[in-house]
Symmetry: C4
Subunit: 217 residues, 4 copies
């Protein structure tokens, strides 16, 4: 009993720390949206025109915000299945957070380079970051779920399989984004934005499935 | 019982993540208040004179801080009525947080442009952001409250109606701010500052009303 | 009973939000410590020489960090005496947080201007910010403690009086800092640093006193 | 019983505040990774070439992220042994957080200077920061553990000794990093990166040892 409480407290602190990193990374994204000066505005034909020209900044803000949010919702859900943490888990979680907190950098890169010759390089780094992020997420889940290592007793084998299948689509789908970047920066970037929306939907469906499953068991 | 605890934990984590985003967005606002250099100070007739001239920065800091704070107090109150979360709610909450964390951008815009020809465009974007934020807040509440979907059993129909009415005034009042921006940037901006104060008062009153209501039922 | 839990949850969320703002404000301070470029280093006689010349930045970082920390410890202690929150309390707390999150601005001002003719103006704004912060802290405590409005039943009248006396020294002591700024920026600034240390000690002593008191009652 | 709950709440808030500072400091590191402009990219032979040349920024990001993460994991573990906090502990914890939130500054220094004549000075400051951080960690643990001052009754003397020994290796190992900086910036910097990995492993092993120990007692 005491150990149960202890475990819950430790798991809770790992969640709180992760939430902090997710929340800060998602909020720092806005710092990459540059504020044009009054001089820029009068030189370019008004504030709206200057703002219109920097449209990649808003799309990149939106795409990265949505992706981090989806990642957070999934991380949040994963933790409802985990009943204790150990050191390797904390460090794999740290690896995931390393890439989550890295996101503002490729976001700024793609924002600034999408309308220039360096666009495809920027899009490749952007898609690559999410590819690595999705792999880190799978490593974390894989470690926790193998031999039911850190999972609660309420998590049945069917749910583990369903989640493993769902999470595995991530790296596969972002690999397409990486491939697209070699042909078109806009296509790769737009696809990443679509993926965030897609994952949101898949997440909702799997949840229904998971709840139904839980009802049966 | 177990499910009750589970729900409380999930709701708690959604609250904690939201609090994180609110707290970071509100604290990042200060980064938009520019620090004049010693050279600026000696060229303009002293530090106080330079600081006086950038008054829109302080007013924008104050207005945005107050608005995010009011939004947080209302979000905080809404969650006292909610007993569980689901995926669509988490993503609607994410939509709200998208605009909350966007606030530093229009705040910086209005700070920098209020004394220039681009003032009205900046004020329009500032007011528009709050309009969209108020709409997102209503969508979140609407989803949670419709058919009592995510509300606790202690929330009676009278309270739901009172809150729905209160929240609906938000988009209506910010629409006036949007309209004012076409005529005067200062009027629209000042009105937004007043609104934050007004909402604070309405919040207090509704709470008394809500508590009284709860006492009756 | 239910209400007790409800109150505890609401108080907890107010604490968590405040902690977030305190933690972010204290961590953002480092962004005001400027990083000299390699060009600066080679032009001025080495990196250490450049870093040595910007000493006001480190002292300002230290002074503001210590002051926000003391403020947080006191806020943390105040909340151990509070058993519920209401709207006016949340908004007074918001007022306190407004000035807490403002601290990076006067910190940057005093960092940049301490070695220039504008030093006294910067020191005045720095000391003035803490004066206002200390007043806001007293308003918050005054609201909570008057007629035992929001205090727990375990808080006796002697402890309330002791805390009220302790908190009141804040505005009085920072008033001296404000006064000193008219004569010497360094004196006012150094005094603010000393105050943070002094408050730390007073806090420790009062706590012993308070605990002893609680033991008697 | 009541006091137990009270203590747990206070300890919890100190943890939450610390987690906030750790999470923010670790996430702010990315702001030090500079985003090259399209002009930089076209002038230097493509985006990848510009990014390749600023490799110290990524290594510094990684090293500092890993070190703060290890520090957080250790802080997290230390708190599982602590059952109450007092004022001197909160201020020693504040001292630790002062250096944790300072980390982005030496990280930026070493990022910018590693390929310039000022490299060794920057590496010295980088290693010195971690030396001081490790000492602050030992002070915090020393205060809590001396005479079992703040430790829970479940912590036995063997575990205290094992942890004290483990924590003491920190300052000794970082002293080597400080020494190395006089000869080679790259060696000192690379060694700091390795240390973070090493500590991660030592942490895992000690934990096994600690758990085994706990099983015996």
């Amino acid at each position: 009993m005491r150990e149960g409480l202890e475990n819950q407290k430790e798991t809770g602190r790992a969640e709180a720390f992760s939430d902090g990193v997710f929340a800060i990374a998602i909020t720092l994204l806005i710092l990459e949206v540059k504020v044009p000066t009054p001089a820029d505005a009068s030189a370019t034909g008004g504030l709206f025109e200057v703002l219109r020209r920097q449209w990649p900044m808003y799309v990149a803000y939106l795409a990265s915000f949505a992706t981090i949010l989806v990642m957070w919702v999934n991380h949040h859900k994963m933790f409802t299945h985990i009943c204790r943490v150990d050191d390797p888990f904390l460090f794999l979680n740290g690896l995931l957070l390393l890439f989550v907190s890295f996101v503002p950098f490729p976001t700024a890169l793609v924002s600034e380079h999408l309308q220039f010759p360096s666009a495809r390089s920027a899009a490749l780094i952007y898609a690559g970051t999410y590819e690595v992020l999705a792999i880190a997420f799978n490593l974390l889940w894989g470690y926790a779920a193998t031999h039911h290592r850190l999972l609660g007793s309420h998590v049945n084998a069917g749910l583990v399989q369903a989640l493993t299948r769902q999470y595995r689509t991530g790296p596969a789908l972002y690999l397409i984004a990486v491939g697209l970047a070699f042909f078109s920066a806009e296509a790769s970037f737009g696809y990443c934005l679509l993926l965030a929306v897609y994952w949101a939907c898949v997440g909702s469906l799997t949840r229904f499935f998971g709840d139904a499953n839980a009802g049966i068991s």
